[in-house]
């Protein structure tokens, strides 16, 4: 053991240290080599020639850190992606107060105390104005059932609307499952109160929710079903 400890402190033998070359040694070797070979007229220019830099060898282009342009939209997309999962762990019981909040909004929207006083026939004087208000309303949080549709498996689905896109509704059922329903081929029944409801052709709702508040509607549309 003692021998090995002594060996560490000792300088390396000369045979090994001769192998090493440093940066300065190499330069000196090169200068001496050039001085010996070149004619005496060119010896003065050696130092200047060695200082020259060639653009492609040593210089690197300036690295500019570009600001991340997509950081804002990417953040929104990342958050929004959680909505597309079918298991989002939203429970039906927790979303029931959203529906009562929506009913309060509809009271103010229509300017009516009770929903029972809604007009029943097209002969009524307020028929058109209320229809315009109903189409422009927001449907997040409403309870709907599907009455008719081209696809027979979707008939009878009931639940609260969670998301509203251009061509689909996302509906949270009572069994805590989110279902995606296409609008165009369905007739929806929207429940306001215990016995009050109205039926809507899904084809007329095929607009983005933000654009719906601005768009002008025609009075008559021919149903396609």
């Amino acid at each position: 053991m003692e021998n090995s400890n002594d060996n560490i402190c000792l300088p390396l033998p000369v045979t090994i240290s001769n192998w090493f070359t440093t940066y300065k040694q190499r330069e000196d070797y090169l200068v001496n080599f050039l001085k010996n070979i070149l004619p005496s007229s060119d010896v003065k220019d050696i130092d200047e020639e060695l200082r020259k830099l060639f653009p492609l060898t040593k210089r690197k282009g300036k690295v500019t850190n570009k600001p991340e342009k997509s950081s804002l939209m990417a953040m929104r997309k990342c958050i929004r992606l959680y909505l597309n999962q079918t298991k989002t762990y939203i429970q039906y019981k927790q979303m029931v107060p959203l529906n009562s909040l929506w009913l309060g909004y509809m009271h103010h929207m229509l300017g009516i105390k009770n929903f029972t006083s809604l007009p029943m026939n097209f002969t009524h004087s307020h028929w058109e104005s209320i229809n315009h208000r109903l189409i422009k309303a927001d449907f997040h949080g409403a309870i709907i059932t599907i009455v008719k549709s081209k696809c027979p498996s979707t008939i009878g689905i009931e639940g609260i609307i969670i998301q509203d896109t251009k061509n689909t509704f996302k509906v949270l059922g009572k069994d805590n499952v989110i279902r995606v329903i296409p609008k165009a081929s369905c007739i929806f029944r929207i429940h306001l109160e215990h016995n009050v409801y109205f039926d809507v052709f899904g084809k007329e709702l095929c607009i983005r929710p933000t654009e719906r508040s601005v768009k002008k509607f025609k009075n008559f549309q021919i149903p396609d079903l």
């Binding site: 929104r76 959680y82 909040l101 909004y105 009271h107 009524h124 208000r133 997040h140 933000t210």
Partner: protein, 155 residues
């Protein structure tokens, strides 16, 4: 046949869009305790409606929505609020969702144009006289006031 109770004849421009924005803001505040991605979706529709109809969001509402991820900023739950007083007096709010920082400077004598009484022109009241049972379960506002501001800046 009954007549529907008096539809208010006073017309305010973009009344239905204002009501829709009001509902969406309440909904996003309510949902934020359960699912943040839904809450940010609702308040993004809020700002989208305001852009489409060219109406302005009220300044207090606008300041309580995160600029980047558009989720509602509730101090203690989804945001952290600190007071900074080194160079400038600043209210600093940090969103927990996306960790962006929002700074609002304060001056002592300065008051916002919206808080001054001169800026108010008119108040529209759309009150419903009787309450239904559905109202009491949720904490929505019973009366909706729409305030009309003048947007001319005075120097």
């Amino acid at each position: 046949m009954k007549k529907p109770s008096a539809i208010n004849e006073k017309l305010c421009q973009g009344k239905d869009v204002f009501e829709r924005m009001n509902y969406l803001y309440q909904a996003s505040l309510f949902v934020s305790s359960q699912n943040i991605s839904l809450a940010s979706y609702y308040s993004s529709i809020l700002s989208g409606c305001a852009k489409k109809a060219v109406l302005r969001i009220e300044h207090n509402v606008k300041r309580s929505i995160c600029k980047v991820c558009e989720s509602p900023l509730i101090p203690g739950k989804t945001a952290k609020v600190r007071l900074m007083a080194k160079k400038q007096k600043i209210i600093k709010t940090i969103c927990y969702v996306c960790k962006t920082i929002k700074r609002i400077p304060i001056k002592k004598k300065h008051t916002l144009w919206f808080d001054q009484p001169e800026s108010l022109i008119e108040i529209f009241d759309y009150n419903l006289k009787t309450e239904t049972n559905n109202f009491k379960t949720c904490n929505s506002r019973d009366s909706i006031e729409i305030k009309c501001y003048s947007y001319n800046w005075q120097n």
